[in-house]
Symmetry: C2
Subunit: 207 residues, 2 copies
Amino acid sequence: KIPKSTIDRMPLYHRCLSIMEENGITETSSQVLGLRVGVDPSVIRKDLAWFGELGKRGVGYNVPYLRQAIAEALGLNKDWPIILVGAGKLGSALADHNQKYVKHFQLVGIFDRDPAKHGRQVGGLTVRPMEDLPGVVKEHNVKMAMIAVPAKEAQAVAHVLVKAGIKGILSFAPISLSVPEDVLVYNSDYHLDLQRMAYFIDNRFDG
Amino acid sequence: KIPKSTIDRMPLYHRCLSIMEENGITETSSQVLGLRVGVDPSVIRKDLAWFGELGKRGVGYNVPYLRQAIAEALGLNKDWPIILVGAGKLGSALADHNQKYVKHFQLVGIFDRDPAKHGRQVGGLTVRPMEDLPGVVKEHNVKMAMIAVPAKEAQAVAHVLVKAGIKGILSFAPISLSVPEDVLVYNSDYHLDLQRMAYFIDNRFDG
Ligand SMILES: NC(=O)c1ccc[n+]([C@@H]2O[C@H](COP(=O)([O-])OP(=O)(O)OC[C@H]3O[C@@H](n4cnc5c(N)ncnc54)[C@H](O)[C@@H]3O)[C@@H](O)[C@H]2O)c1
Ligand SMILES: NC(=O)c1ccc[n+]([C@@H]2O[C@H](COP(=O)([O-])OP(=O)(O)OC[C@H]3O[C@@H](n4cnc5c(N)ncnc54)[C@H](O)[C@@H]3O)[C@@H](O)[C@H]2O)c1
């Protein structure tokens, strides 16, 4: 049973290794990787050990090989259709960014309750009314959604998503969402990163 | 020497405990906390052990006491002035959100190179030209900045920030930034959360 904290760090390693691979770096070590991703090398080695003998003791890791092994272990090459609720400032930024930079999670629908936004082109898609949401989820068998609406609206939106069949919600709204046990919720909160950064600025870590 | 992975999780515990405290919950356990934050209870107990005897074996933790202990250990009650570069869709959303919801990191300046944005009111502040940035950083002794500009502009902006004296950068641009050793960079990337969520949807975790 792979620990959740290990799984949570794997996409971070994969991103770093992808960047290294793009830059032609072919060999690395837990030390170098640790410095780049901000994780203790011993933690990296323990994490990777769950997925097999991925490196050579005393030699290190082959970058493309390790990246591919992690991608396979995490299913990172699978394509997922996703939807977005909220086509305001944040939603529009997310849609544009997603279209340009995110490869395996493709937006197939953007929804907003504001009629003024319906028909607007955002991130290569046309903003649609909330009434269209269940149909789109069904048509594309969508399992994941992002919420970018105000705090007081987020719970109601989560309810609509769950009813439509969504199994994973990434919410940017600053509120704790209530969902059934079989639905996952991730709260994206840059505030936590500011707090982490502040600690390390004041307690410069040598790790 | 507290491990970095422990420090990284502490703000997550603090946020959860704050929400519990707001909802009048006075007692909790590593099991309940673990379920809420998505961290193995044993990991939570190991993390908290770095900061003292914060709970009673077999009894659990007092919520307000634990929240306060974590806040003190992490210096979460300290006020930090911060600045933002990029007043586009994402930057505007960040500024509004920060003004409404973020207590100890206050925006004291928003900067953009687009003259059309100068003078615009965003998140309670007036958008200013990049030329004003060094002066504002100096005046408020700013140590932290957020970057919300396009990928190809982010490195140049990071250079300006470092030159002005910034020691911690939270970047939303999809690019790896090069900075001196004494400057911290956090890359905010919701893509990683989508990857984590996808794994757990496919491998429903019972932890
Ligand atoms: N977590 C973070 O990192 C972060 C960063 C920035 C903003 N935020 C949060 O993201 C949310 C959106 O911010 P924004 O600046 O884009 O706000 P915004 O007001 O510009 O956009 C919100 C959009 O949601 C739509 N909406 C409202 N209620 C709805 C409903 N019930 N169903 C469908 N659509 C609905 C509105 O019509 C609007 O288009 C806010 O909660 C904000 O606090 C979070
Ligand atoms: N990591 C994430 O979660 C996430 C989510 C959404 C968007 N993004 C990224 O955030 C960035 C901003 O997205 P957006 O939708 O707000 O874009 P945008 O085009 O709406 O805004 C960018 C702003 O940056 C300003 N700018 C450009 N170059 C500058 C420079 N050299 N100095 C100062 N200001 C400059 C522009 O004038 C503009 O106002 C993009 O890189 C995008 O890919 C990241």
